[in-house]
């Protein structure tokens, strides 16, 4: 079970959150082209490894939380508020030992 460190509430179980997908996508300007919106709505990098994504804390503070998580190992590297820029780890982190 993912344990997510909500910036407002602290570490909480994944069951309190609703996943909301890729957080690297930026909504184009309202007058942008269909192509720009197509990219925003449909195209996904879908990385195998570190992924910056949204977890909506619906069973808690109802804030959208930005999370850097590894899609292969399910490790969580960082969490933050929507406006925060979270960097990906350079090297894979290890557990104890």
């Amino acid at each position: 079970m993912h344990r997510i460190d909500c910036p407002w509430c602290g570490i909480r179980d994944e069951a309190e959150f609703q996943y909301q997908g890729d957080a690297t996508k930026v909504r184009p300007a309202p007058d942008a082209s269909q192509d720009a919106f197509f990219d925003y709505v449909y195209k996904r990098d879908n990385p195998k490894g570190w992924h910056t994504e949204w977890w909506h804390h619906v069973g808690g503070c109802r804030q959208w939380v930005k999370v850097v998580r590894n899609t292969l190992t399910h490790e969580i590297h960082a969490t933050g508020a929507p406006a925060e820029k979270l960097s990906l780890p350079r090297k894979k982190k290890r557990g104890s030992k």
Binding site: R3, Q18, D31, P82, G95
Partner: protein
Amino acid sequence: MGKNRLNFGGTKLDRSKPVNFTFDGKTYSGFAGDTLASALLANGVVLMGRSFKYHRPRGCLTAGSEEPNAIVEMRSGPRREPNTRATVAELYDGLDAQSQNRWPSLAVDLQSVNQLLSPWLTAGFYYKTFMWPAKFWEPVYEKFIRRSAGLGHAAVEADPDTYEHAHAHCDVLVVGAGPAGLSAALAAAATGARVLIVEEQAHVGGDLSSTLDQIDGKPADQWAAEAWVKLKALDNVTTMTRTTVFGYYDGNVLAALERVNDHLAEPPNGQPRQRMWNIRAKEVALTCGSHERALTFDNNDRPGVMLAGAVREFVEGYGAAPGKRVVIVTNNDEAYRTAMVLKEAGVEVPLIADARTTPNAAAEAARAAGIPVEMGVLPKKAVGRLQVKAIELQRVDGAFHKKVECDCVAMSSGYSPDVHLVSQTGVAPIWREDILGFVPDTPKRQERSAGAGKGIFDLAGCLHDGHMAGIDAARNAGFEPAKSLKASRADPTSAVPPLAIWRCPGQGKAFVDFQNDVTARDIHLAAQEGYVSVEHAKRYTTLGMATDQGKTSNVTGIGLLATARGEPISDVGTTRFRPPYSPVAIGAFAGHERGREFQPVRQTAMHSCGEKLGAVFVEAGLWLRPQYYPKPGEGVMEAIYRESKQVRETAGICDVSTLGKIEIFGPDSGEFLNRLYINGWKMLAPGKARYGLMLREDGYVFDDGTTSRLDDDHYFMTTTTANAARVLAHMEHAAQVLWPELDVHFCSATEQWCGVAVAGPNARKVLADAFDEALDISDEALPFMGVRTFSWCGTTARIFRISFSGELAFEVNVPWSFGEAMWNAIWEAGQKHGLIAYGTEALSVLRIEKGHVAGNELDGRTTAADMGLGRMMSTKKPFIGQVMAGREGMIAEDRATLVGLKITESEGRLRGGAHLVVDKDDASAETSLGWVTSVCDSPAVGCWIGLAYLQGGLSQHEGKTLYAVNPIYDEAPAVEVCSAHFFDPEGERLNG
């Protein structure tokens, strides 16, 4: 007392408490502390089951949860549980067990003729056989195979027991309370860390219950018992027995099953049968021990042929002799301990046959104790059918050696560290040739293995390694041990390495996976046929896929596969272990969320009002809503018809509390709504409401509802019942992520405000009487789409002049706790104005007659234009979904758009889900022009009507006759296409 009960041993028994039980209808006696298997053995019963494929007679192979053979049906009726391992089933008075997979009886199983077919039932037999003649597969062979499925019978009635979910948090979790686990827990506890130690069995100490060794100068089992007492006394330690940690999940969360009351006939009143634990552990010490392996020789599955460690456990732990004359066959030192225990217990050991030729101290000690030992000797074949009668032995070179009479064979092919849990974390087990076992690689999570679980098999080593693991775990959790902390000690021993023997030479059936009847030959065959990958071989032969999950068989199988491939085991690798560690009842996962408690039921504040009026309720998501209010003797259709007719004639009241409600505040609220909805909101004046439609970002309709401006900076939104939560999430995304610069704040108020709709020509009169002086609802004071707040009964109420039915109508909201009072006030006031209550069905009739869309029309694939609301889409401002709604496919001419349908036949009816075609005799996927979304028998129109999406829409089909084909009901009524605004298209009735 059973004939094979010993006066020796029995450390797990309470001999003062005799217990009666039955097996296959025959009554026996055992002691409290027995397992079903030990009690049967003590009674001289060795035949306990039949294998899956060949129906071979089987006794127990092991004494623990890894048991593949002795699995039985326990209990009866709704508590019947198949495949319970007799070796873990604790005896209770009145225990009733049946053997499985046999007919007519365990001793005489006619299906054992499968053995005669065995040349065709080898590895992969499913795939190769049953193919000829072709026409026989489905009607004949498939039925045969399906009838042969499974072992035991499940109950067919609802499980009467309950299951709980519980949560635990700790700094250090120790899994397994054997010598390493106890040592780890003692060390970790001494640092002050919060320790949770979990043991699968009812007794702690693991192997220590069946050893003659000493720890810290005491008998080992006494040391274990004292350690447990010490741990239990510590405030920072929680101990659990009868609890199996079965899964290692992400976030260092482990799952465990506590068998709270399985050792009793039934759970005491109010108690659960089992409890599922979610354990959130900072650090974990895995001290899970190891599993002994069987030697692979002909007929090694005969009842009475058992693992050496199991024999030791039965004798020492349970005081039950598996036989009177026990031959030991081994490739390692450990089995000698069994010989010594047997000797001590007074059981005859005519021979220890050791496959190794190197002299070893264990053999010397055995000989010194008077037990004959022969080196370089292997088992060849077990003799006997329902119980072993003798063992034929051979020299290492395959030459016949001799035959020894016996009624039990204790065998050992070495030990496999139990790497199941650690393997679940993605750590690959790596092969160690010196110990003939897989051990865990570097941890990936906050865990470490210790003791036999990482290949340390001597007692002194386990104690020390467990101690170090406990310290390491505590330190990583932030606790420092005192320097003086010391591990318990046992005498060091030196073992001679085991000898790898994956197949003792022979031509007969030598079993690897006992339950699934996978033989050494099957594995050889799979490799020969090209299933050389370990995963392919496993799937092809079903090795390790039985209820014991291959605990005793996997490594031997891999050894055989490696032999067949001519490669070292390290190159062959192992299959991945999947949770759960041992099988877990489905009910335990579900916990209390079952039956009616599967999901909560939501009731509105006016639920009891509906009940009093005899409402029939319907599920709307989690909500219960009044569907209709039948009068005595009235059918469903009549009631709905009456209600919808009456609303248009006098007035009706309907509970609409389930609508989603969101309070919106802030100076940018108007701008925010402007970006959410497709229509404009900037010009909406305070005191006014407006219908709004919002799209998803992909341009399809998301939700609709009425939103009111209560004050300059205060709006009140309603959503559909179904989408309330999703709309809120959508808005939170917009406010927090897309436009954090907007000064807008909102929260759900669905459960804060309850509401009723009052509709019909008399609606104003009803409300005027109900609220009396509190409220002026004249047309001037509250025009159509007007909103007012007013004070009523000391609280604030809101009234909206909006209409879903097309009648003069109002919706009134009051705080949730005032709901019942409001309903009653309106109800009483309405009696003289002909007020009736109407449910969701009449509500639907009224809105269909007006062509208003609802959930059936909003299926996530419709555009605003499809619904006839294309012109609502503002071109003067941007809004969510605007750009993508412009894609060619979403504005294409051939899209189906909303129309009305009237049945043109006097008989028959319309149904939702029918497809529309021009020619009912040429109905196909290609000629279908659309589908019917909502239907009703309309009092206002006087016939069955419906809403539908139709390609070409009204512009191409108005007035034309189509057929609403409905093959699954075998109906195809003719319908006339018309405007969806069936009734009062000018909207004159809104004014009463």
